[in-house]
Symmetry: C2
Subunit: 152 residues, 2 copies
């Protein structure tokens, strides 16, 4: 009886690390991260920036602390990211009755940016997931959701 050794693309055994589910989630995640960069090349978008745009679009008027909490980004690190987006005219920062916080909304330019990126990303994802059946994709997303729910 033999055990199949998880290997990388170069045929090098990963050892005990390769027996961990976390190893493969990390490696699959890296494939998506690299592909994300290729998909949105030329737009100036990055994972964090796109995530912020998407959350602001879905929650107009949200403040940046809440966006950061949803994405796992510290308040302190949100500052320059939101500055980048407002500086590029993709997001508006407006005062509210709560004078501590700002209300974030997308500009028309921001809406177009999301549309451009999401169209490219869907095409790239289709390629990355081409080896998976419809059932496998559904199980994959459901399993990932249950793992996300374990977020401490």
């Amino acid at each position: 009886m033999t055990t199949v050794q998880p290997q990388d693309g170069n045929g090098i055994a990963l050892g005990v690390y390769g027996q961990l589910v976390g190893c493969h989630i990390r490696r699959a995640s890296a494939v998506f991260v690299n592909d994300f960069g290729r998909a949105v090349a030329g737009t100036g978008m990055r994972q964090a920036l796109f995530g912020i745009l998407s959350i602001v679009a879905a929650n107009p008027g949200i403040n940046q602390g809440s966006v950061g909490r949803a994405l796992g980004i510290q308040r302190a690190n949100m500052v320059s990211l939101v500055n980048e987006l407002t500086g590029r005219g993709l997001v508006l920062r407006e005062s509210t009755d709560n004078r501590r916080a700002f209300a974030l909304t997308l500009t028309a330019s921001g809406e177009r940016m999301i549309a451009t990126c999401i169209e490219r990303l869907h095409r790239h994802e289709a390629a990355l997931l081409s080896a998976l059946s419809r059932d496998e994709r559904a199980t994959l997303v459901a399993a990932l959701g249950r793992i996300e729910a374990k977020d401490a």
Copy 2:
């Protein structure tokens, strides 16, 4: 008919980003990364260091360039990582007949470090995957493997 909006743990809609599989792979990966840190707390290990130890254990005599290729780490960035491991007495760097490359092997201390970490990691993974059935776990790992195979 309504579409369920993918949300984060705080009930904030993720928008179009949450409709991407890549979003959920990233978020699930982050859960594993954070858990890894808690699992190996006090050992001084990090993801990259543990990955290197595991590959050296499974491929005694391998050179550091090959380890980096297997883990997606640039040659230049392997230098300080391997220095860290040799400096802590976990890895041996020895000359070979190919005088450009070094042969890496684990010390007894390195073997013990792997054993300690893998035992903790298996317990932590069991907790993270507790909501998944045996079939779901198998499908998850298989799906991740097919995505890893898309590595450019």
